[in-house]
């Protein structure tokens, strides 16, 4: 089985990059290759110029990964876990930074609690903290908000955006497309191990998707040559996919001209979900 096929990507330093795709598209495999958790049969990957195989020490030192699975070592407390993780990266006394990370992730009160005693959301916070102990310039977040409550989600994004502003490169995979739309400046969409789309978030929204217009009129037929594509119809209620705002203008003019009264109208702007569905062919 080929998990990744001809994937060629470059993420610029300081970018907030999104990696999207349906389950099994190869997102985690790609991250695992970059992180050295899996070996690619062919091709290469590098973190800030350091090859992940031949120069793995430098590559891994510059990378922080928040894994998708909620994993933890049940033998240790939160502080012990973070101290041990710092040591793995060659940092012997790291308490000041550990305290700061714990503060930002609201973990300070749980510093001496055993990992087993933490809730799922708290364990997720520790995973994020573990990825940050060595202040990596590149941070990969693999589904960081899966199963996490709203409060943590907001706190986490605040913290990650701050890291991004401070110059950290962020690579994010998520199933919550609104999160990718809100935070990522550029997005790659994977489908069956291949890059199906790669562009800035704005361009993707522009090129793949139009606005959706919900229209309720007093009759069951639209005038001839009405712009847009009818997605669904229920009596006098239509859902139309509009290419751009000029089409909306034309539609309103045609309705006026035909003397059709608008009972109700709602215009929804394009979102990443439309792009995702189109690109992944769902």
């Amino acid at each position: 089985m080929c998990a990744l096929d001809g994937v060629s990507l470059a993420v610029a330093q300081g970018e907030f990059f999104g990696l999207l795709g349906p389950n099994g598209a190869g997102k985690t495999t790609l991250i695992n290759v970059i992180a050295g958790l899996a070996r690619a049969d062919a091709g290469s990957a590098a973190v800030m110029g350091a090859d992940v195989v031949t120069d793995y020490r430098r590559a891994r030192q510059m990378l922080g990964v928040v894994p998708q699975e909620l994993v933890f070592d049940p033998f240790f407390s939160v502080r012990e876990t973070l101290r041990i993780q710092s040591g793995y990266y060659g940092i012997r006394s790291n308490d000041a930074w550990i305290d700061e990370v714990m503060h930002h992730l609201d973990l300070t009160a749980k510093a001496d609690a055993n990992m087993r005693a933490l809730s799922g959301g708290m364990k997720r916070r520790v995973l994020v903290a573990q990825a940050l102990v060595h202040k990596p310039p590149v941070i990969v977040l693999d589904e960081p908000t899966a199963g996490v409550d709203v409060e943590l989600r907001q706190g986490l994004w605040q913290f990650v955006r701050r890291l991004n502003r401070d110059g950290h490169t962020i690579v994010l995979t998520t199933h919550y497309l609104e999160e990718a739309e809100a935070h990522c400046s550029r997005i790659a969409m994977l489908k069956a191990g291949r890059v199906a789309a790669l562009d800035s978030t704005a361009n993707l929204l522009k090129s793949f998707s139009g606005s959706q217009m919900k229209l309720h009129i007093g009759r069951e037929r639209l005038p001839e040559g009405f712009p847009g594509e009818v997605v669904s119809q229920d009596g006098g209620s239509f859902v139309l996919k509009m290419g751009n705002f000029r089409e909306v203008e034309t539609a309103l003019a045609q309705l006026r001209e035909a003397g059709i009264e608008i009972v109700e109208m709602e215009l929804q702007p394009a979102d990443l979900e439309d792009v995702f569905l189109r690109v992944t062919g769902r």
């Binding site: 020490r57 990964v65 994993v71 993780q85 060659g90």
Partner: protein, 251 residues
């Protein structure tokens, strides 16, 4: 080096935090062996001339504990980390495969020797034990714990499930330990068992270790040490190559 030191420290902390299970329990098991077998087989099994059977038994029990616990330490730690997924915390940082190997095996040696020392401490009250050549005891103790630790790592690398590891432990380590002359001198065995015992590397460890206590053995300690050292080298090489390839860990 900090990566190696931290991994070694973490491995030590891991077994020390559950020392009742990892140290006290095997010491108690060895004591029970001594009480039951030492008394039940007293005078029935041939040991070395002039040496009380219970005294003969103690070094064997110590070595058995060293081997089993060194193996258990590296194998169960790696296995648990693989099953729970927290192995990523060790695989993500810039820790080389050699540092990985040394940290796990060194922690296994420490656990093996701590349990071995514990067994000696509690059994010494029941038998009159001499330590004629302590350097031999130390050399065989260290080498044997290293071999078992490296074997444990290999078992952990290959095992995907707990029952696979249990099979390795029950069908390989336990028989090799039990048939290594812990409870008897191989000279007392009939053929072909006596000859077959010589194919068991654990036999040389037990015999060499016992030589350190009584300055008497079934074989020359130099021959035993050479065979044990060769085994340690071969098993370590296999283990290091497996770690280098990433087999069972980075896939």
């Amino acid at each position: 080096m900090t990566g190696f030191r931290t991994l070694f420290y973490k491995e030590m902390l891991r077994f020390w935090k559950v020392s009742v299970q990892t140290v006290a329990a095997p010491v108690l098991t060895a004591l029970l062996y001594l009480v039951i077998f030492g008394r039940a087989l007293e005078g029935r099994l041939a040991a070395f001339a002039g040496i009380d059977y219970a005294a003969f038994l103690v070094p064997g029990l110590v070595m058995m504990s060293v081997l089993q616990n060194a193996f258990a330490n590296s194998s169960s730690s790696l296995m648990q980390s693989k099953i729970t997924g927290n192995i990523v915390f060790v695989l993500l940082p810039p820790i080389s495969y050699l540092e990985f190997f040394c940290a796990y095996v060194l922690a296994a040696i420490v656990r093996g020797l701590v349990v071995g020392a514990g067994v000696m401490l509690v059994t010494v009250w029941f038998v009159d034990l001499r330590l004629e050549a302590p350097l031999w005891t130390l050399a065989f103790g260290l080498a044997s714990a290293a071999l078992a630790g490296a074997l444990g790592l290999i078992a952990g690398i290959f095992s995907e499930k707990v029952d696979q590891l249990a099979a390795f432990q029950n069908f390989v380590i336990l028989p090799l330990t039990m048939l290594a002359g812990v409870f008897y001198s191989v000279h007392a065995l009939p053929e072909p068992w006596r000859r077959l015992s010589h194919f068991n590397p654990f036999f040389y460890m037990v015999d060499g270790f016992r030589y350190g206590f009584f300055a008497v053995g079934d074989l020359s300690p130099w021959l035993s040490l050479a065979i044990v050292a060769a085994s340690v080298f071969f098993v370590s090489l296999v283990c290091v190559l497996l770690l280098k390839s990433g087999y069972g860990l980075r896939n």
